[in-house]
């Protein structure tokens, strides 16, 4: 197997420890845990009582319209990519040489479930026209690519097997 060297030029993250890389890294070094008890009503009927949810809700980091149009997985991807791009110095580069790859365990599963409930409860007319762009697994890559105007292999997605931990990785 031929090994190719790559250079990481920018980092971005939104995690159970923080809404950016610095907070996340500080939390890791301090030995903090991002796992919290689930206190919401919906969680009272399921056997699992804890989860590692993001520390900062996307609604605190994005415009309201973006929140409406993007699945949670896409929100996370965009938030991390914006930090990474800024960390890299927001470089001016040839868009035809700019590609986006994002790994996602499932994609927009919350959108799929919500819209299925709307379909059953209120009918097809009220299902969001944004459903497919929100639920597709390559949605995070597609939205990052649109924002950065990446024209080289934009919506790439590879599956990320999550065993014992939740993780999404992106590479621009």
């Amino acid at each position: 197997m031929t090994r190719r060297r790559v250079v990481v030029t920018g980092l971005g993250a939104t995690t159970p420890l923080g809404g950016d890389v610095a907070t996340t890294w500080a939390g890791l070094l301090a030995g903090k845990s991002g796992v919290r008890s689930l206190t919401e009503d919906w969680a009272q009927t399921i056997p699992v009582t804890f989860a590692a949810r993001v520390a900062v809700e996307p609604s605190e980091q994005m415009e309201r319209v973006e929140i409406r149009r993007l699945d949670r997985s896409e929100q996370f991807g965009l938030i991390a990519s914006r930090e990474a791009w800024k960390d890299a110095g927001s470089p001016e580069i040839d868009k035809e040489r700019l590609g986006v790859v994002v790994a996602s365990g499932i994609g927009g599963v919350t959108t799929l479930l919500e819209q299925y409930d709307i379909l059953n409860g209120k009918g097809a007319r009220l299902v969001s026209p944004h459903t497919v762009p929100m639920l597709m697994p390559n949605g995070p890559a597609a939205n990052i690519g649109l924002e950065l105007q990446a024209q080289a292999g934009v919506p790439h997605t590879c599956k990320c097997m999550c065993i014992g931990r939740g993780s999404n990785w992106l590479c621009i």
């Binding site: 415009e63 309201r64 319209v65 149009r69 007319r125 969001s128 026209p129 944004h130 762009p133």
Partner: protein, 82 residues
């Protein structure tokens, strides 16, 4: 009873702001949804469905392409409410 044009315009302003993030003050009768307000096709579908819900009228899919300006939409809704 027919809806008043001013009431429909006020309602549409709120809907467009909610759906597309366009400031309500920018949503005027002569504004083109696509060229002036930058409302994309998917958001336009949301606007139409929200308007149907809010004003209690039916806007057939084949009529949506005729709603080029905010005024077109307001007039359609006012007429449909008669």
């Amino acid at each position: 009873m027919a809806l008043a044009q001013a009431d429909v315009l006020a309602g549409l302003k709120e809907i467009v702001e909610e759906v597309a993030g366009i400031p309500a003050a920018s949503v005027e009768l002569d504004k083109n949804f696509t060229d002036d307000l930058d409302v994309d096709s998917l958001s336009m579908v949301e606007v139409v469905v929200a308007a149907e819900e809010r004003f209690g009228v039916k806007i057939p899919d084949e009529s949506v392409t005729d709603l080029v300006t905010v005024g077109d939409a307001v007039n359609f809704i006012v007429n449909a409410s008669k």
